[in-house]
């Protein structure tokens, strides 16, 4: 049932998307790159929230899907057309999630968190080894698509990921995941097949990051496993979600905006200070503002949760 308020929001969102789509013709390459980053973080965080935000199983290893998508794209470079390579990257990431999720999701709580971290690092070192075995020391891509093309593709991914989160959240799957987050044992006692729901949402949450990884490797034109599988990516995703709010669509958008703003101010001059601030913010928000900026704003302005 769609209410007036929701129609208003949808119209607003549609207008925003159209405005974004027009950006490449309105701004120069540097600002466009910044907006691209914003869309990237939105896409990553919305996908992450689809699984971790809803189920409460914090994945600190989502960079692995980003990295796998990037690697697949690089391996298929000029072997397969890009419009196929990128989705394949996403598909392989999804497959990885399926294969990894089956054993890993049976581990609960904080053990799952450090396990995801360990898995991400493990895959990173596997790729490093395999690249070394292939005699490759980083890979350079020449003739990648223009920034405009990449930008529009990323916009599409950001929109899709937001839509996916919304659909999942309002579906029976979402209700089950929220129940799992609240109390997994109690949820199972009322018929929720926790293992299946977690696996499904975990797999779903991997596709977009895989494709994002592929797009970003085209942007940077250089593949290097330490960068592609960097834990900083995972850390940033989690921080965005916690800053902005981790289980509703606007949350990660707010968090990503904040983060990109901060990074624009600090990254070039003092990347360490930027990271320090992120770390401090993460601590402060976990302790004092767990509902994120969005949740806090809601409380202050008194709107009811749908």
């Amino acid at each position: 049932m769609i209410q007036k308020r929701q129609i208003g929001l949808l119209v607003l969102a549609a207008v925003a998307v159209l405005l974004f789509a027009a950006l490449p013709w309105a701004v120069g390459p540097y600002p466009l790159g910044v907006w691209l980053s914003l869309l990237m973080w939105i896409a990553l965080a919305e996908s992450w929230a689809m699984f971790s935000g809803l189920s409460g199983y914090v994945s600190l290893g989502h960079a692995v899907f980003y990295g796998v998508g990037a690697y697949v794209t690089v391996l298929l470079w000029q072997v397969v057309p890009l419009w196929l390579a990128i989705p394949l990257g996403g598909a392989v990431a999804g497959l990885l999630a399926l294969v990894l999720g089956w054993p890993c999701l049976r581990v609960r709580g904080p053990y799952f968190v450090i396990l995801t971290l360990g898995v991400s690092e493990f895959v990173k070192y596997l790729v490093i080894s395999s690249e070394a075995a292939l005699g490759r020391n980083g890979r350079l891509l020449i003739g990648t698509p223009s920034l405009t093309v990449l930008f529009e593709a990323m916009l599409a991914l950001a929109v899709v990921s937001a839509v996916m989160l919304q659909l999942v959240r309002s579906s029976r799957l979402g209700t089950g995941l929220l129940a799992i987050r609240a109390d997994e044992v109690a949820a199972e006692a009322v018929g929720v097949n926790a293992a299946a729901l977690k696996l499904v949402s975990f797999t779903l949450s991997a596709f977009i990051p895989g494709m994002v990884g592929g797009l970003m490797i085209l942007r940077s034109t250089y593949f290097e496993p330490l960068q592609a599988f960097s834990p900083t990516t995972s850390f940033t995703i989690v921080t965005i979600a916690i800053l902005g709010g981790s289980d509703e669509v606007p949350g990660p958008i707010a968090g990503a905006l904040f983060l990109v703003l901060l990074s624009e101010l600090l990254w070039a001059r003092a990347p360490e200070i930027y990271m320090i601030i992120l770390g401090v913010l993460l601590i402060l928000f976990v302790l004092f503002v767990p509902e994120g900026l969005l949740g806090r704003a809601r409380r202050l302005f008194g709107s009811a949760r749908p």
Partner: protein
Amino acid sequence: MSVILSGQLLSAVLVLAALYSLVAIGLNLVYGTMRLLNVAHGDLLMLGGYVAYWGFAKWGISPLLSAVVAMALGAALGTLVFATLIRRMFASPRLLARVESNSLLVFFGISTVVQNVTALAFSANNRGYSYLDDVVAIGDTRIAANRLVALVIATAACAACVVFFRYARSGMAMRAIIQQRDAAALVGINVERINRQVFAIGFALAALAGALISMTQEISPFMGFPFTISAFVIIILGGLGNITGSIIGALILATVEVYGVAILSPSFRSILVYGVFIAVLLLRPQGLFGRPIAAR
């Protein structure tokens, strides 16, 4: 066969195991008493290493002396973290409900801050120094003096820990809390005070290990994480909350690492450690000696 039993590899195992034990005991204490997974533990080791490095590079102070300073600073930092962040977490019912996951995120934040503050202060490049570099021969085995000293001190520290937990009042109180937190409170143990000491001791042990390690290898702001992972593997292998189990776990991991690298190649070291980490978490989260825990 002679290669396998070579003094060279054995001494490497012992040194690594002794250092790993120090790190693991600290992590295990914090986990055993409060169920907190400190993913910043390796970064404390890194800090200890930098204290030793700075003492030597700037003032020529022996790292062995700096180790004491590092321990003191570690203890102070541990007390600070406990008093500000951890207590807050235990005091709020909302945070307490998911204290394990929340604390993990907080520690992750601390890790990021610590790493980047260090990188800011010292730059991200590797740092190293020479101290007690000369090679000592024990029988057929050649070992650098600094590694030998590290081994001796680390072993002594571990022994001191074992004695502490057996005979000291605080140590026994810690064991009581590890076994049965609520019962410990009921018999009059001031759980909060002991927990604070746990943090102080845990951080101090990591800092000590760091100072010792800085003698034997180069340090960098981001060197801590692999040690954290190794420490996790060890405490899971040895049983969460089981202090002597940590020492055995350290021996096992050190053996796997040293021999694995010797047989395969150094570039496989990370794959090996993380592989063991994943396997252990998936197969036996309660470790080889520990009580079954609700990881599933």
